[in-house]
């Protein structure tokens, strides 16, 4: 596919027959899709072998708007579905594109286990600090003392520090950007495509309709200006120190970039060691049904 003659770089990646999309004015999810598209172009990923899996929520709707083999699965279970895809066809490049509630609340168990196993997945977690699609309920990432529809008097629970969580669980690539950092985000996604193993990129994004509005934090543009003003790029920062607050500093950057053997390398190594000649590599035989 020649991209030189297509003017808008993102257009070939969209299901244009489904535009305009459902995201609100000032929502940052569409912005992340631009960055994702740019990363696909720059890293020359083979689009035919790219599969995108999402869960439920506003970010989960990305799967329906991208022109790729895409799967809109159940709430919290994009990662195990993606694991099955990858194990059945290791040639696939599998991206999980989902939100903070989907990935860290109901999907939390799967998040940490996939990171532990170092499954070769690229996870893009759009973190708008809220459950947006269902009307603005508290998420494990909602910073205190936000007003949400299920904490009408203000949240009081400590929030997850997602980079810290996934690093501890075993992720090999951990980065955080905001929707203001469009070029850096695209670059991080490209870098994740070069890595083998569990990569996790958190993107802080506005939810102007619910999170920002209920907490009188302005609209999408105000939030983008806040990101611009209060973000500090600190590559390699200890993830324990990158927790978020409602209006405070946002530490962004590439925090973790390390090498650990991925799940399939470990599996292969173990089987060859134990079974020798008798081991039959599944990549030849799993897709054996048609």
């Amino acid at each position: 596919m020649s991209l030189i003659d297509i003017a808008n770089p993102v257009e070939p990646f969209l299901r244009t027959d489904r535009m305009p999309h459902i995201w609100c004015p000032g929502c940052g999810i569409g912005t992340t899709v631009n960055c994702f598209s740019r990363a696909l172009i720059d890293s020359k990923v083979d689009l035919q072998s790219l599969a995108l899996v999402s869960g439920i929520g506003c970010t989960g709707r990305v799967a329906g708007y991208v022109k790729l083999d895409s799967f809109h699965t159940t709430h919290g279970r994009a990662i195990p579905f993606a694991t099955g895809l990858k194990l059945a066809n290791p040639k696939l490049n599998v991206v999980v594109y989902s939100g903070d509630g989907d990935l860290s609340a109901i999907g939390g168990n799967h998040l940490i286990h996939a990171a532990r196993r170092n499954i070769d997945l690229k996870v893009i977690c759009v973190n708008n600090l809220i459950y947006a699609m269902t009307g603005g309920q508290t998420a494990p990432t909602t910073p205190g003392r936000a007003i949400t529809s299920t904490s009408p008097y203000g949240t009081f629970e400590p929030a997850f520090n997602l980079p810290h969580l996934v690093e501890a669980a075993g992720a090999v690539y951990v980065a955080r950007w905001t929707t203001f950092h469009v070029r850096q985000l695209a670059r991080s996604i490209s870098e994740a495509f070069q890595k083998k193993g569990f990569s996790f990129i958190e993107v802080i994004s506005p939810c102007p309709t619910l999170y920002q509005r209920r907490n009188r934090l302005g609209d999408g543009l105000d939030t983008m200006k806040y990101y611009k003003e209060k973000s500090r790029v600190k590559h390699g920062a200890p993830t324990s120190e990158v927790g978020l607050t409602m209006t405070g500093e946002i530490i962004v950057g590439k925090f973790v970039d390390r090498d650990r053997p991925d799940y399939q390398s470990l599996l292969h190594g173990q089987m060859v060691e134990s079974l020798g000649e008798k081991y039959v590599d599944p990549s030849e035989t799993v897709c054996g049904c048609s």
Binding site: Q48, T74, F81, T83
Partner: protein, 385 residues
């Protein structure tokens, strides 16, 4: 299509139902399983984990049944035939994803080796109390197929049938074993691969430009594609149109949900597998399935020794329920006797379709052991009055 010989352990074996089920899956072409340990089903995946690295395939033990039940579906869309195995508590956890498989028309097999419930119940003892759950466990209107083996041999043979139905109808199939059938050891004959018929994936032959993931022609079952083949298709659990795009209107819902129902209903003659014996002139027909059918067999023999005319109807396919056959038989017999290892589940269906033309007698059992033949005989005698 003939079975792939690499997965067929041809020979005469002395193995239990769990082990035979695993061999059936391998013979059917299953090359992916995602599991989570739960008594009394665990041996199925333990054997798969041991066998599949030398056959060629993948096994992963996931962190819970919620994961296992969706990981296998990812593998299906990646090109594999896949299944999972569980018992009551895990089956309950898998319900959302059984619904997802039905809605997205993902061909796959869910094995439930039933044990005493509810809740943690009796992990090592039998029951047949998940039968209604197999049919109705997930939310919404959908259809599944459920098969009930009554021996380790059937655990082999019918698992292949389960995979074949799954592929033919693009539906999740519930393989309803029970703890006794799973743990009983009997002779299992596995034929050579060329004697085993397997149904291949209904893969589309359409070009990338013309393919629509949920368009059907004729039999109501769409053709499938896999990720990585260039089709760039979309799959969602939301109500969708032929393009697979979310289309949340009553009209699309009506069209889709009715098609999901009719693709199974319209083919129920082919799907309904029954074992019948002595039904002509029977005053009483014993309707049973799974391990209970073996006890019922003895009860029927005892009743016949007493000179009673008793027929046997064994449900090999429990869902879709053989309503047509029950309706026919209800006009020709006095009573149905339905022993089950539960407090009355399939008996409700029998009674419903008997339509008052024949009486229906349940032989309930709370689970934990099997009936004694005398328990069933007593009800046959009562039904004969």
């Amino acid at each position: 299509m003939r079975a792939d010989p690499r997965g067929v352990l041809t020979g005469t074996h002395f193995i239990d139902g769990d082990h035979a089920c695993c061999e059936g899956a391998l013979a059917a072409g299953a090359r992916f399983a995602a599991g989570y340990p739960i008594t009394p089903s665990t041996e199925v995946v333990e054997r798969f984990a041991a066998r599949v690295p030398t056959v060629g395939g993948s096994f992963i033990q996931m962190e819970d049944e919620l994961a296992a039940s969706i990981t296998l579906q990812g593998a299906v869309w990646g090109g594999a035939k896949a299944f999972t195995v569980t018992s009551g508590p895990g089956f309950s956890l898998m319900m959302e994803h059984i619904g997802y498989a039905a809605m997205t028309e993902t061909p796959c097999v869910f094995v439930d080796v039933q044990r005493g419930g509810p809740s943690t119940g009796l992990p090592t003892l039998p029951a047949q109390a998940d039968m209604m759950q197999a049919r109705w466990g997930s939310h919404g209107d959908y259809e599944i197929i459920a098969l009930c083996p009554n021996s380790p041999q059937e655990c082999f043979d019918l698992t292949i049938k389960a995979f074949n139905f799954a592929e033919e109808f693009r539906v999740p199939v519930m393989f309803m074993m029970d703890e006794v059938v799973g743990h009983m050891t009997e002779k299992v004959v596995i034929p050579s691969a060329d004697q085993i018929e397997v149904v291949p994936r209904r893969h589309s032959r359409k070009s990338v430009d013309t393919y629509e993931p949920y368009a059907t022609n004729g039999d109501g079952v769409p053709e499938m594609a896999h990720a990585g083949e260039g089709y760039k298709f979309h799959v969602t659990g939301l109500t969708h149109d032929e393009r697979g795009y979310p289309n949340m209107t009553p009209q699309t819902q009506d069209k889709l949900i009715r098609r999901l129902q009719s693709k199974i209903h319209d083919a129920s003659d082919r799907i309904t597998l029954l074992e019948e014996e002595g039904l002509d002139n029977a005053d009483v027909i014993v309707v049973s399935y799974g391990i209970t059918s073996r006890v019922a067999q003895r009860a029927i023999e005892l009743a016949r020794q007493q000179g009673r005319r008793v027929g046997k109807l064994r449900l090999i396919t429990c869902w879709p329920f053989p309503e047509k056959r029950i309706r026919q038989l209800a006009s020709r017999t006095k009573a149905f006797v339905v022993p089950e290892l539960n407090l009355g589940q399939m008996v409700q269906e029998v009674e419903r379709f008997a339509g008052g033309k024949a009486k229906t007698f349940a032989v309930p059992h709370a689970g934990g052991s099997v009936h004694r033949p005398e328990d069933i005989l007593r009800v046959i005698v009562e039904a004969s009055r």
